[in-house]
């Protein structure tokens, strides 16, 4: 098992290395001059040249890359062109918002998708199975921004049941400790703020979770159906085991494998979806930060955020692989 984990960890290094090269090239080889971007369109050529020299943009590319890599390894992700704030500091303060949103979306997607998929598999080829298929088709076909805006319109504008945007009532004086609204409100001993945070979280989580919900439902249905047709399930039934026991011991144990894989793969989709969801719902997370960075042509913000997103995605995939090996001994010894 340790060997497996070490092998997977080593496998992630070239990917990260390649990623750093690509992101470096993004800034340095494509049109647009970072020095010009920092100084603005009206800067004199002399000032731009001075800035280029100061930023080391006139050095050979390999030197620049090594410097960039060295900074990265020391946790220096550069500073925002707009307000000169270190990107890392900003990312750390914003990540809790994105984590809160993606975890809520994942809970929504898995919490509904897995039971729904199991239900559809047990009633395969029936009307209710058809209904579930339609729901999952809609889930993958409705873009996050269309669903988000529609939910806002129905539940915030028309019905007034839930807040349309933000993470918490702006009048609430929440003491920020962890930047997780739900945790901070509990630390303050304010259940009312906690509930307010939850009510702000519902619509964005549903919007963001709709695509994973559809995919998880589909995979769970297909996986349970596959396993149900296996010989060992027939054997279990033939030897007189109860349905509940067959489901728990024989079907679900084996059906989990593809579901776990897909749960892990969805994390990348959720991070990408968060970029748009946070824009729709005015959610002050990392996704919003990167969109603002693009609007401001803030190179380092965009570059570093993509790198961090990719890092998170790689780590999650690694964890999924390990969990997969725990669940399926056949993988470990392959």
């Amino acid at each position: 098992m340790t060997r497996f984990i070490v092998r997977r960890l080593l496998g992630a290094i070239p990917v990260l290395f390649g990623l750093s090269i690509i992101l470096f090239c993004f800034i340095h080889l494509l049109p647009g001059d970072p020095a010009q971007a920092i100084l603005g369109q009206h800067a004199t050529p002399e000032r731009v040249a001075a800035m280029r020299a100061y930023m080391g943009l006139d050095d050979p590319l390999w030197q620049q890359y090594l410097r960039y890599l060295n900074n990265l390894l020391h946790g220096d992700l550069g500073a925002s062109v707009i307000n000169n704030q270190p990107v890392l500091k900003e990312l750390i303060s914003r990540f809790p918002a994105t984590i809160e949103l993606t975890v809520a979306a994942m809970l929504f997607a898995a919490g509904i998708g897995i039971p729904l998929g199991r239900y559809a598999a047990r009633h395969a080829q029936s009307w209710s199975d058809g209904g579930v298929t339609i729901i999952s088709l809609l889930g993958i076909s409705i873009p996050v921004f269309v669903l988000g805006l529609t939910l806002q319109y129905i539940f915030a504008v028309k019905l007034g049941l839930l807040p349309a945007s933000g993470r918490i009532d702006p009048r609430a004086n929440l003491e920020i400790k962890t930047n997780f609204v739900l945790i901070d409100s509990l630390l303050m001993g304010r259940p009312d703020l906690f509930l307010d945070g939850i009510s702000h979280l519902i619509l964005p989580a549903i919007a963001l979770g709709s695509i994973p919900l559809a995919i998880i439902t589909r995979i769970t249905r297909a996986s349970v159906l596959d396993v149900t047709n296996e010989d060992y399930v027939r054997t279990a039934r033939a030897k007189g085991l109860g349905e509940r026991r067959i489901n728990a011991r024989h079907v679900m144990r084996n059906a989990w494998l593809p579901v776990v894989t897909v749960l892990g793969l969805q994390v990348g989709g959720l991070l990408a979806g968060a970029v748009i969801t946070e824009t729709v719902f005015g959610w002050g997370g990392v996704g919003r930060y990167v969109v603002d960075g693009i609007g401001n042509r803030d190179y380092f913000v965009v570059q570093s955020t993509i790198l961090i997103f990719a890092l998170v995605f790689l780590v999650v995939n690694l964890l999924v692989d390990i969990l997969y090996a725990v669940l399926n001994p056949r993988i470990r010894y392959a």
């Binding site: 993958i140 076909s141 805006l149 990167v290 609007g295």
Partner: protein, 297 residues
Amino acid sequence: MTTPAIPVAIQSDARASRGLWGDAVRRLVRNRPALLGLFFIAVFVLAAIFAPFLAPYPPNEGSLVNRLQTPSREHIMGTDLQGRDEFSRILYGAQVSLVAGVSSVVVGVLIGGTIGALAGGIGGKVDSVLMRVVDVMLSIPGILLAIGIVAWLDRGLPQIIFAVAIVNVPIFARILRGSLLSLRESDYVTASRSLGASGSRLLLRHMLPNSLTPLIVACTLALATAIIDVAGLGFLGLGPPDPRTPEWGTMLTDSTKFLRQAPWLLFFPGAAIVISAIGFNLLGDGMRESLDPRMRR
């Protein structure tokens, strides 16, 4: 000598097989959801082609007197902030989505297919290197990669097409490589290799034609995501540089400020995106079922 067992299903099927594609088409026209998908796609494509004839008003002309009108007999989908006819803009918007969606999938499949064919066909070191590149591309979440590319290459339809194409490249590469790898060990490839067929002949004549099926299904499904991604870029303000261009995602951005007064500005472009995406998803699912021999009943 025993007679080979013939499955009952085949015995009872009076019609002879017409080959992979003939059979697939026959199964596809029997698949009702796929036909519905085809219908949605037909509506979408016809709207794009005949937009100049179908649109009651020019897409970029309107007067402020007519701004934010509710749907009526004159403007069946209402008017937008500048008083432009929403229905005409949706029709013209289909052109942008169709061109950008189809071209990005074509570019994506050309690049991804080449990578996949080289990796799966040659194998060895080439395979390892190319697959690491694909891993790197896969490590950046889809739309974020597209956002990054458009942000750096600057806004424009070719940039959007390229960005959305790049998102699909690793997916296509992996699919083609996977099916090529499974074919390399198949009996008929081994047979023609032992007959002395060259590597390129094996790849082009024998392996590629037989590994295209999953790629074609993936392309159809990718069209749905491509349309959504193009609209997503537009929604984030990275759409075509001319702000007057009728692009569905960009049109949705305008709706956000007037959700209360003009919900139709959300409803109609949103429905256009969803219906075309559903069309390609239904057709893709239907094609997968009809092309996959294991699904034959």
